[in-house]
């Protein structure tokens, strides 16, 4: 895998006898960097299909017709670059919202949903979504090595995919963003510095400001480069080589950054001289802005210095850990596990199914049952309930159906009074006797039923307050059959009578 190198290979490393070496080197670098724009142009080419879902024969999707996706891509990179130094990552949603506004300015006819779809598509294509967010892969001709080389890179990378994507621009992303992509960053820095100085002296503050802003973005490029170099070294199994490869990079970086800090300081001095001169209002404003930008740059460089310092510390600890006996190498799951296991007899697979599943899945907290949960489980006939979210529970809540009373309250009261009177008058009587008597006295059928109900309810518990209060004792006396009521006959006795 070939990567863009911030510190281009030293010229001494290359064959000296080639008079065109310099030119070849520049052109190769330029040729390679041009590949960074390929993904952006691919989006523009495919925009009619919006992600390639529509058959080629179909008419172009009109929603993307007046949309300049190249501009949108550059806006996306610009947005990420401006947050790169101060934030570890930026939520992809913020960028999509930002693009949404720009898209609606391009074409007023689009609905928010269509615009969002386009914004998401442009953003995700820059991340190489259709390829599982892997690196873009392009080939270019290397004039020095006289061969085709592969160039793998990302423009934007997803740092965290949980709870909405968190993305970050890569070093190549910044390179793609900067308009002059031919020179390597170190050279660019020197040019920028010289240009800024010259522009200030020439009074072209606006251009100087632009230069200063550009150099800020490059600070971030360094940061990414250093992180990646470090990661690459960690992958390198040959620990012995580490001191040769990484230490010089770290030393060089810190030297370079401290130089840059000095240069920015010099620029600031230049500007403060300017401030004493008489300037028109517009120029004064620009100079103030320029001062702020350069101060910001200075701060960013100091941050980078810390970053390099930290990397150095991290490197040292890794180096120490490499001296310890290393942990076993992770197996190649595809070749060493999946392939042999595909040949297993089916019984073997089946017997070990539970063990294998348990090893892959996370822990499961054992469930403790209380009686209610247990009953609930039995009630649902063995179906396993997964805990639902609070929202769903609220949405599923239903009113409990109220059971309408069997008899109107007044009738029950009347029956109770009638029943109590009977108890006071008679020492003992059965339910059947009571019903027959009521019928004789031409009470309604409904009243008789209600009375039977009241009597049966009073049978509930001989020790209940009601029984004690009425001073009665009720026992079962075989079954009885009335016109419309059947059931256990009840003998109601006064307690004194027992």
């Amino acid at each position: 895998m070939e990567q863009v190198s911030l510190w281009a290979e030293e010229l001494e490393d290359r064959p000296n006898n080639d008079p065109e070496a310099d030119q070849k080197k520049d052109l190769t670098q330029q040729n390679k960097n041009l590949r960074l724009l390929s993904p952006i142009y691919q989006i523009e080419q495919n925009k009619g299909k919006l992600g390639g879902r529509i058959e080629p024969t179909e008419i172009e999707n009109p929603s993307t017709k007046n949309i300049d996706t190249v501009y949108l891509s550059i806006l996306t990179l610009e947005y990420y670059a401006s947050y790169a130094l101060s934030h570890n990552s930026t939520p992809a949603n913020d960028v999509i919202e930002y693009l949404l506004d720009k898209i609606q300015l391009m074409n007023f006819d689009l609905t928010t949903q269509e615009s969002r779809r386009i914004a998401e598509w442009v953003h995700n294509s820059l991340c190489n979504q259709s390829n599982g967010y892997k690196q873009f892969n392009f080939t270019y001709y290397d004039a020095i090595k006289h061969s085709m080389q592969r160039y793998e890179f990302r423009l934007i990378k997803i740092v965290n995919a949980e709870n909405g994507h968190q993305c970050k621009i890569t070093e190549e992303g910044v390179t793609a963003l900067l308009t002059y992509i031919n020179a390597n960053p170190k050279l660019q820095d020197e040019i920028t510095f010289l240009l800024t100085q010259r522009l200030i002296k020439a009074g072209r503050y606006e251009d100087a400001l632009q230069m200063a802003e550009r150099s800020r973005k490059r600070v971030y490029q360094y940061q990414e480069e250093i992180s990646r170099k470090f990661e690459n070294v960690r992958r390198d199994p040959q620990a012995g080589k580490i001191s040769e490869t990484v230490l010089p990079v770290i030393n060089k970086s810190s030297q370079h950054v401290s130089d840059r800090i000095k240069e920015e300081g010099l620029t600031l001095d230049n500007i403060s001289e300017l401030q004493q001169e008489k300037l028109d209002k517009k120029a004064k404003n620009l100079v103030i802005k320029l001062t702020q930008t350069i101060k910001g740059n200075l701060q960013a460089y100091r941050k980078l210095y810390d970053h390099i310092d930290n990397t150095h510390k991290k490197f040292e600890s890794t180096f120490r850990s490499l001296l310890r006996p290393s942990e076993s190498v992770l197996p190649n799951i595809v070749n060493d596990l999946l392939e042999p296991i595909c040949q297993w007899p089916i019984e073997q697979l089946s017997i070990n199914a539970d063990q294998i599943t348990n090893q892959i899945m996370p822990v499961k907290t054992p469930k403790l049952f209380d009686v209610m949960t247990l009953l609930d489980k039995l009630d649902t006939a063995g179906e396993h309930h997964t805990p639902e979210s609070q929202d769903q529970i609220e949405a599923d809540m239903e009113d409990i159906d109220r059971i309408t009373p069997l008899f109107p309250e007044e009738m029950i009261d009347a029956c109770k009074t009638y029943y109590h009177q009977k108890i006071e008058k008679k020492q003992s009587f059965t339910l059947l006797q009571l019903l027959e008597e009521t019928e004789k006295n031409y009470f309604s059928v409904e009243f008789q039923r209600c009375l039977a109900y009241v009597v049966v309810v009073s049978f509930a518990d001989n020790e209940s307050l009601q029984s004690l209060f009425l001073d009665i004792h009720i026992t079962k006396q075989g079954r009885f059959q009335h016109h419309f009521i059947t059931g256990d006959n009840l003998l109601i006795q006064n307690r004194d009578n027992q």
């Binding site: 740092v159 949980e162 596990l337 999946l338 040949q343």
Partner: protein
């Protein structure tokens, strides 16, 4: 024991408790972050957490700001074990009979999922750089291609490979590749899709919601850490042991004949 020591024990147990809640991550929970910081700074605390975990039949695989505490069952007899295929039954919709074939195919599909997301050491390093997805098609293609190559191999040198070494791939190849209608476990893609749904529920995968043309999933930080620390090596060693035993048995049988 002093109040301070008791506090410390309480915090140690709390870290384990939080680790058991597989969907909780430190970035959403400040208390959790503090506990992770304590884990990183305090060696005594680390030992306490490990001791409590051990007593409960658990082990601490990893603790980090990204994925929190990754707590796994200490061994296969732990009460915290996932529960095997029985636990997956609801997801896969099979009710009464877990036939041999069905259990076998599910296992192959689970290992395929693991292999698709964590092919080898390089893939783990790639995740440290940036997140990547695996699409449904990619995952099922991985399994099918391996099975097809095994079939070709078998057809080439028929007499040499014993019959017992071909059942897994024969079953997979006999299934329809693409599901018809709703996802169901009777096709390769259907089975894998249903398993990924369950993996999402368990906090191991996250669906790529921004993708409209195809289904694809990201592994969570937790899944990556768990696989790197424990699962990849653990499951490989476990299966290879069985594989070796199986081979030895066959060889000794062949010799006795």
């Amino acid at each position: 024991m002093t109040t301070l020591e008791l506090d410390q024990l309480e915090q140690a147990s709390e870290l384990i408790y939080k680790g058991l809640k597989t969907k909780l991550t430190p970035d959403k929970n400040n208390d959790y972050k503090k506990l992770v910081a304590k884990w990183e700074a305090d060696e005594l605390f680390r030992d306490q957490v490990k001791a409590i975990a051990k007593g409960l039949g658990l082990k601490v695989a990893d603790v980090s700001y990204q994925s929190g505490a990754i707590i796994l069952p200490k061994d296969q007899h732990s009460a915290f074990c996932f529960g095997g295929l029985t636990e997956l039954r609801k997801t896969l919709g099979s009710n009464s009979e877990d036939t041999l074939t069905k259990r076998g195919t599910v296992v192959l599909a689970i290992i395929t999922l693991l292999a698709a997301f964590f092919r080898d050491e390089v893939q783990f390093l790639e995740y440290k750089q940036a997140q990547q997805t695996q699409s449904l098609k990619n995952i099922s293609r991985l399994l099918l291609e391996i099975c097809k190559s095994l079939k070709d191999q078998h057809n080439q040198d028929k007499g040499e490979i014993p019959d017992y070494l071909r059942q897994g791939w024969e079953i997979i190849l006999s299934l329809p590749e693409v599901k018809e209608g709703h996802a169901n476990p009777s096709s390769v893609e259907g089975l894998i899709e249903m398993l990924t749904t369950r993996f999402v529920d368990e906090g191991l995968l996250v669906k790529d919601t921004g993708r409209h043309d195809e289904k694809a999933w990201f592994p969570t930080q937790r899944f990556i850490a768990q696989a790197e620390r424990e699962t990849a090596t653990g499951i490989y060693e476990y299966c290879m042991q069985i594989h070796q035993e199986q081979l030895n048995k066959q060889i000794s049988e062949a010799e006795s004949e």
